[in-house]
Amino acid sequence: MNQATFDKERIDPVLADMFIPPSSHDNEIHLVASKCNKCGVYFFPKRHICPNCFEEGTLEDKYLSNEASIYTYCVVRAAPVGFDSPYILGYVDLPEGIRIFTMIETDNMDDLKIGARVRLIAGKIRRDENGEDVMGYKFSVMKER
């Protein structure tokens, strides 16, 4: 998919505040986190107050890194309504010290391993009740060089 033509209308509203989709002036997708300027900890998705410091106004928006590594994964065969099976879910570790839950995709199941490098992409998560694609963020396994 040409990321520059990403259709914002098809983003899952539940996930909409969590990322900035690719656009004509920035072809990259970005996950938006909160960073506490007091304790330095990142939180994803954004928070209203730092749970460590418990002070108002210490959080600022930050983009997270777009590369991560797989901490664990699973392959869903019995899919919830709207999801096409099989699909991969997992947790990936980001350099900011965050481990996040995400859908993962790969061209080759042999590349799906704990420790494999993954890259953030915008892509289809599921279909809505009209059969239209619903978009969100996910991570794609990178080819080993």
Partner: protein, 391 residues
Amino acid sequence: MREISIVGAGMTRFAKMPERDVIDLGREACIKAIKSSGVPRKDIQIAYCGTARTGQLLNRECGVGQTILLDIGISGIPVTSVGNFCASGSSALREAYLAIASGMYDVALAIGVEKLSVRRGKGLPLTSDGVTLLTALGFSPPAYFAEIATRHMYEFGTTEKQMALVTVKNRGHSRYNPNCQYQTSVTVEEVLASRPIVDPLRMLNCCPTTDGAGAILLCAKDLAWKYTDKPVDIIASSLHFGLYEKNKDMTTFNSDRASGKEAYEMAGLGPEDIDVAEVHDCFSIAEILHYEDLGFCPRGEGGPFVEQGKADIGGEVAINPSGGLLSRGHPLGGTGLAQTTEIFWQLRGEADKRQVPGARVGMTHTMGGFQDSIELADVASSCIHIYRQGW
């Protein structure tokens, strides 16, 4: 704090029962508990009823306990609904325990009930309560436990065969438990050939959707002799909301470790003192983690622990002699008090062909529920009780 004894326990058969409603199930469990106890209904001073999904599935948020009690001629006492995910029934027991321990009441009834078979999506995993973000990304409880399994296999070399052996053990026990949804044994080969649900978990690694109820009558220990010669004492009660932390090791549950530690300290006992335990085997990998988190074996050795027969009846500690959730099924609020009923029977020597010989000290462990967090993973509730023969 006062000492507490269980003097009566009862449960329904666990099965998909389309013809029975949640009140009917709760009523049967209460009648059995009361009749087994020798406690006249007028002596019951307070009741708690644990449910997790009556609001969403039955349009019944409040009043399940009151309706059950009114049906059996009990009214005018304090009755409180307890909702705490999969530990709702166990949490109702804990509230009853605390009510008596405080000195404010002497005799209490705890009920746990759920009717899950009405849910839509046959053959699909039950979704968790309130996890909007996770669900939007394709989450389900079996997916979460499959992710745990992948990591446990990676770190410790745990195998699909070892996970299958948990099911084989528990289904083997179920042959002697007429209250289980499944009452037949299965082989490792059958588990490994069952339908894939979420790799590496297959159908027979997952507990089934079920209806059922349990009820427990408890009182101050000094009053127990009025009702029975064989009271079963509750010597520890602990409950923890998940201890959420960044980058948590997913091969262990912080909440279970905290609840286990507190329960052992309260009882003045250690894992080596437990003869029989009913633990929350919602998925076979979960039971392997519980061996480790509850201290029955060291970290990472849960797979060999089951493989070497140490969790069998006659092993180091008999785990899930009832057949567990994998056989009995898991009607959320109903599960905890079915576990307690099993331990009540085991410690009184009333467990028939699945009796653990010489069982004097028992444990129940119920856990579950998820927070809608993308970056923090634990379970939302972990409730542990330890019991000892009280005579």
